[in-house]
């Protein structure tokens, strides 16, 4: 019996992804066939369909693409509001990530394009900080 591939990725890269975020980094997977970059939580390349990836650790710095300031928060975030939830673009990579950014009161505090970085991962998910 012939296997399609021996290089099947792990069932879940989330523990490693979380460890990387705690260190201020983003664990990504680069498709070895077409070079498309993905967050490490995918199993197949969205561009070419391949499942051969190389892990790469990216520096978790970048710029705000868009965000909101949450004033009516979901459960668990009541004591943290107002805070921002942010979509950021990672540095020089064509890759975005989103996360929780504490202590943002008003839009002037966080113009689009503001430099931000990943600083951790806890019960608030990916945690970001203004640079």
């Amino acid at each position: 019996m012939q296997f399609i591939s021996f290089k099947v990725c792990k069932l879940s890269a989330k523990p490693e992804f979380i460890e990387a975020a705690k260190a201020g980094n983003v664990l990504a997977r680069k498709c070895t066939k077409c070079d498309e970059l993905h967050l490490a939580t995918v199993y197949f390349c969205s561009k070419c369909g391949s499942k051969e990836f190389e892990d790469s650790i990216l520096k978790g710095t970048g710029k705000v693409v868009t965000y909101t300031i949450m004033t009516v928060p979901p459960a668990g975030f009541e004591d943290l509001a107002p805070y921002a939830w942010v979509v950021m673009e990672l540095g020089d990579y064509d890759l975005r990530i989103s996360g929780f950014l504490p202590d943002i009161q008003k839009p002037e505090d966080l113009p689009i394009g503001t430099a931000v970085k990943v600083v951790g991962f806890d019960d608030r998910g990916i945690v970001l900080k203004k640079l």
């Binding site: 909101t68 300031i69 979901p74």
Partner: protein, 384 residues
Amino acid sequence: MEKVCVLGAGSTKYGKLEDSISDITVQASVDAIENAGIEPKEIQAGYISNVFGVADKQVHLGPVVMSNLGISECPSLSIESACGSGSVSFREAFANVAAGFYDAVLVTGTEKVTHTGTDWTTTYFSYCSDFFYEGQAGASFPGLFASMARAYLHEFDATEEDLASVAVKNHENGFLNPKAHFRKKITIDDVMNSAVVASPLKLYDCCPFSDGASSVILCNEKFAKEHSKDYVKVIGSGRGGSPAALQGREHLTTIPSTKIAAEAAFKMAGITSKNVDFAEVHDCFTVAEVVDTEDLGFFEKGTGATAARNGETKLNGSISINPSGGLKSKGHPIGATGVGQIVEVFEQLTGQSGERTVNDAKIGLTQNFGATGASCAVHIFQSV
């Protein structure tokens, strides 16, 4: 492929309802059966869309509904696709009737959540997002759409007042709809002065959490003709998907699944957006309606907000958008909404929509998505 028709439609009022989820689901189904002029025993399958039945102590709603209709032997299933559950369920029913498996089926969408309170609903609705990246990090649905709104206002020449005009227009339409959750006209100032929920979205940019159920009878054309009653043809059906998380999307001012679903539906119908007389679109937040009307091809990208402000989407404007009042004013019982849109189109195309009638309408479109548009279905209907 069999031609598929909507033979009848029914709905409860949308809003805060006292009756249980099973009761409202049965009520809407009975309304649709009577409106279609059929006997329950003519129904060959039931499609029930629902998301949070667990909140009212009843999941596996299909057999409960069928038993109450006296047809416990009839097969049924439940479908969950967040806020897009209703249209996805309709699509599955459509596909099965088109394929010839069934002559006539019941499609009922339902939701009952208002008794749980805003905290519960905000939290549980956030489970419809890509939770690892969004809900877990404190993003609610208003927050996710607020992020799209900020991107839209940043990218295009549009203002928060332009977005507010969508809410004002939908409340004008909902004022004329006896089954709407809110029958109250509002002004742009009312929207602008309402409390900020997730900036830049304010309370009146957001649709309410509603209870309600809507139902339609779907059948093949032979069955419809045998029942010699007004019916409406389903001429187009399409579905599409988008990256589940906003971070996975190249543009935050468009919803890919809408475009994919619309392209498929228009192709099947052999028409374009220019042939559509009115549309019921997914306006869970004001910005969503603006993005929808652009993605469906009614307006160029970036011009939808101005078009709304200029009154082009009003009842009997250049394209009537959400004559029912939309999710904003008619209400948003999430499992029912997609079916409710189809109820509105059926009523419009069969002369049952009273004061909110779109003049001389022959072709109506529905667009209903789940979450931030991670899933979407578009349907196109034509009067006979």
